[in-house]
Symmetry: C2
Subunit: 130 residues, 2 copies
């Protein structure tokens, strides 16, 4: 029985993962990991997710350069959600979102509508063109 066996993987073999910026406490993004992704994250000290759309391992930052250094890996009471404390690399301030924003959670509920609150820090065309 290893630490990976203690996780309650869902029926697709995945676990939800929250990435939180260690310095600011900002919640940056939400993604999924399978067993191999979590094992590699622990080994590398960098976030490796499972891309459900591409059905493959996704070393965050592999295309954008926006690597996440992982300081802390936490597991919840039910053993079915992972929380990472990370430093978002590759741009200052950090860009975790594919839209070029700091965080993926840039839409805010206000008066029965979603309002975009946070600025684009870098044009996605320039993030992914290199």
């Amino acid at each position: 029985m290893t630490w990976l066996d203690e996780i309650r993987w869902d029926d697709q073999g995945l676990v939800p993962v929250i990435a939180q910026e260690a310095g600011s406490g900002d919640v940056l993004m939400f993604a999924w990991m399978n067993r191999e992704a979590l094992a590699r994250t622990a080994e590398l000290g960098e976030a490796v997710y499972w891309s459900r759309s591409r059905q493959r391992l996704w070393h965050k930052g592999e295309e954008s350069g926006h690597i996440q250094t992982v300081h802390d890996i936490r597991l919840d009471c039910d053993n079915d959600v992972v929380l990472l404390k990370v430093t978002q690399r590759g741009h200052e301030p950090g860009i975790a979102c594919h839209t070029g924003r700091h965080s993926c959670f840039f839409k805010r509920y206000d008066n029965a509508a979603w309002q975009t609150t946070d600025p684009v820090l870098k044009d996605p065309e320039h993030i992914y063109s290199k």
Copy 2:
């Protein structure tokens, strides 16, 4: 088309929800909402989740008294994850976890094992006995 229609509900009609403490930035818990739960959360200003185990709406704190006042409801770039900024009520410091801890994320990966880091603030028997 309402703000609720913009959400990409999963094939069970649910969306994952992260609850973050507004004051400290601590990630407290992770749960799910269906359409009605999110509508009631926005209306009440208190977190109402969908309990997958009980298959019913779950007004957080209904048994424990540990209500979550919601200050901010955010949606991610893909419209499929919700982030709440909350104040955890009913105990000081706040208890979000059914184990009587501040946060559900009290297990930390260390040296290929999960170590429990955070103290129990109140015995669960006393939380749920009233």
